[in-house]
Symmetry: C2
Subunit: 79 residues, 2 copies
C-alpha cells in the first residue's frame, strides 16, 4: 500500500522558500500571483495491507519524524 | 483560485533525500517500509477566475521554473 504524506507550514509561519518562488515568478513575468507556499510531499511504500493499520503507522511516522508539528501540518492519503 | 502543484522525481532518478528518510524510519523502528520518495508541493494563489487560463498559466510556471522536466514530473490540481 502506498501513502502520500503532504507536509505544509501552518498559517502564519513565515515561508522564505515560497517567497523566493513568488519573487522568481514575478521576475519571469508571471503576474497575478497572490501568494506561494512550499511544502513537502513524501511517498511511502508500505507492505501493510490493512488500511487502518497503515494509516496508524504513517501517523506515527509523521509525529515522530516527517513533520515538525509545532510549525507544520500533515495530511495522509492512502492510495 | 488556488493551484496545488506536486513535483516528483521521475522513475529511475536517484532520490537521496527519500533514502535518508527511509534510513531514519528504520532507525526509529518503523519496519515494513519498502520505499520512500520525496517530492515538492507548491501551493499558488492566483487572481485568475477562469480554470483553463489558470491551468495554462501554472503549466507555463512549471515548465519554466517549478520543475526540472529532465528529471521531474509535475501534476497540477486546481482547488
Amino acid at each position: 500500500m502506498k501513502a502520500r504524506v503532504t507536509v505544509t507550514l501552518k498559517k502564519g509561519v513565515l515561508d522564505p522558500q515560497g517567497k523566493a518562488i513568488h519573487g522568481a515568478l514575478s521576475t519571469l513575468g508571471f503576474d497575478g500571483v497572490e501568494g506561494v507556499r512550499q511544502g513537502k510531499l513524501i511517498e511511502i511504500e508500505l507492505d501493510e495491507t490493512n488500511r487502518d493499520d497503515a494509516r496508524r503507522k504513517v501517523e506515527a511516522m509523521c509525529e515522530k519524524l516527517l513533520a515538525n508539528t509545532v510549525i507544520e501540518n500533515y495530511a495522509i492519503d492512502l492510495v
